[in-house]
Symmetry: D2
Subunit: 254 residues, 4 copies
């Protein structure tokens, strides 16, 4: 059984800010967003968490083991260094879907994402230390079989991108609806999902679904641990095993 | 008639680097990728270009007005500051689809994306100055109607993300296949496309298609200019007009 | 009695790298150095340490409470994100002067700063957890009395800078020679020193010396704690007290 | 004859911001300052300028060839990405000392560095294009003879730093008072000065002065050009010539 702790990170009142007093240059918005993401990656990553950029103005982090004080410090650090502030909402649950539901509801209850007077909200309860176990987090790291040979080196880059993107759109929807998992594109041909306690058959099912729906062949390494960093690294090693022995689904040691 | 100049930016031999000698921490890869993108945004943006992160290891830039020397300097600057290098390939054409095709072929001809001996390639010819016109670049800036009210403040964040993502996946494929345009998700509920000389009817067609296919309502502001920065800013202002007067498609002044 | 733990951070073989194969653009070197410092500030700072940029290619960190594993992870993270690597050497002692002496000797014993085959050295022993106390670190935060009124708003910026710089050069030398303390300019009119167990009289002595030698009036807040972050924050609050009540030397609560 | 164009960059109302509502964490201030400097380095550097960090809250840039519009865009870009804003004041003159005097006076006339209502000032006139010449900028790049062998590999790092710092404090003061030049420490054992039209004898004089005053041996490469980037690169090549043939002062080709 997993016990996932997710943090929803939302830039406060960002949409209005981007066009006030008039539209800001896209280049600056892109720089701001990607650096904010990079900083959050480091701030949570140095505490063994994973952050996914998702929509950039709303990001999702797997934060098992990161307590409320650390969240407060991260929030303060961003406020000290950016022209925008962030709200943080922590949700937990046996599935990532439940956790993000809780996190989202807490933040919505505090006010609209575009309310100018809702700033630096910090809500939710981390998993208590005594309740944490070595199987709380399950991370699945997918990539596309021979993406370079089949796509990057053969198609034009945009058509390659279309293939990767369609496979991601299909996988993210399917894993959410069927297996209560949240999947995030992380660059290249890589997708990382935070999952409940799925077994090999369920991963085969997801891979088969994507193959049938959009014709892209995926493989996946799966890791389980007490935090995202350890689970994610185990998943990477498992994915390396896939590459060497040709299997589609490999579970790593914890 | 547009005369789009695109630059394909490809990190050299990146896939192997990320797992050599063993898998590198995801947090560092995410930081590296997003900062590299932020820097390229600034480097091209300060020369009036637009860069899209697309797959992060392969990025696409609209670079009208940026010559080969500037490309070389950008390539050198990245090499001076990152543990990886980038290859750049410039393509031009009456449509963005033609331009990316040329850019991709040139780079593929120079070697595989995962060839360890193919580094810092610089290929292709910018549009010559005398051939440049004030209508060379057409930028379309889409967003989702009332995304905050309909999604962000009501659904959990991942289900909001699924809606945005499905609309992007559908739009990017449709605009590519039907209108030779390249669309990129840029965060929040925003998609920016580089397009050939499309008219209002064609944009209505694309918006209607996405609405029917995945049920997400888009609107779009369109700008035309000699470079991406000016066209993009005109598109942003046109999109603001959409917001104020409720139209779905607005063309901005140049 | 203090028990300072310092880490010497040295970019490996940096001098030769900056001119190979020919001199690299200064703008890129400056960007690289200042970002590397910013990242190290965050990496150590998120673990309650302080980093000083000093010469940028050699930096000094106060790292009480940061163990060898954390040092190794920081070293790896920099190697993953920069074109250069860093060596780290940890020294401890009753005075900062002793600690930096040990740290420097260990690194020198491993090879020259410009040896191409000396990379990512990690040496030295942190203070063992049972030996740590709440008075291990003493941080003194100096600034110039009314710097804005006396200098910034009256002199040209370079002459202001000369005054600040002369006061720093004098203080750093005097505190080192007389009180085994290491002082670092941190921007504006601020100097932060890591000190052994100095008393108020010794700080008055240092301030008087600088006033007599170069005519610049300093004041100082002093904090003591188990780590640099807590001691430094106590020092900042003590300096605020100086500002309010006009005293030159204030010790903060721990 | 040189015709130096300098830009004084001042963070608006920075001192009060750092302690409001209470002192902000030093690690965040250091990160903010060094990244702001890195960004300004890139923003001016991509337009062939040089920026020196000097006090970080006040920076000095050599900006020949950079017009008012580009200054405005840089100012806007910083405002879009940081929690602080910057004021810019452009000064010109036959000597750098005159230029910084003009730039400082203009900014002081607009209000105090700590006035909360003085934000994003932009003052001064760039050198008009027709008045620009290929000798407008003279850059001198100093370093310490055999710094690694004599200091870094032999002394503890702080004592090395003291030697470098004393030589810088002496050089910056002497060059300012005697030769109307502004010198900036740029890391390692490097000092870069923006100078009027000095000849070899005057550089020998400065080097001799530092040697006599503090016992540190410097050498210098000098470059002249229409902008800082070209002059600075010529200076670097000239300094390489010093290294190879043992001379103390070398003038580079333009």
């Amino acid at each position: 059984m997993t016990n996932t702790q997710l943090t929803l990170i939302q830039i406060d009142n960002y949409g209005p800010w981007t066009v006030t007093p008039e539209p800001r240059r896209e280049v600056d918005l892109q720089t701001l967003q990607s650096r904010l993401y990079a900083d959050l990656s480091q701030l949570f990553g140095n505490r063994d968490g994973y952050v996914f950029f998702s929509r950039f103005d709303n990001m999702v982090a797997v934060t098992n083991g990161i307590d409320t004080d650390a969240h407060a410090l991260i929030q303060e650090s961003i406020g000290n260094r950016y022209p925008v502030t962030v709200s943080l909402s922590i949700g937990t649950g046996e599935t990532p879907a439940t956790a993000i539901e809780t996190a989202s509801e807490q933040l919505q209850a505090a006010g609209s994402a575009q309310a100018s007077d809702r700033r630096e909200i910090l809500r939710g309860e981390p998993v208590a230390d005594p309740d944490r176990t070595a199987e709380d987090v399950q991370i699945a790291h997918f990539d596309v079989n021979d993406a370079t040979g089949k796509y990057t080196d053969r198609l034009n880059e945009f058509d390659t991108f279309i293939n990767i993107e369609q496979s991601y759109a299909e996988l993210m929807r399917y894993l959410r609806e069927t297996h209560d998992s949240l999947s995030f594109f992380v660059g290249g041909d890589n997708i990382i999902a935070t999952c409940p306690d799925l077994d090999a058959e369920q991963y085969h099912d997801a891979i088969d679904h994507v193959s049938e729906a959009v014709g892209v062949e995926l493989k996946v390494g799966v890791g389980r641990a007490a935090d995202a960093q350890s689970a994610g690294m185990a998943a990477k090693h498992a994915l390396e095993t896939c590459r060497y022995d040709g299997r589609d689904v490999v579970f790593g040691d914890q």
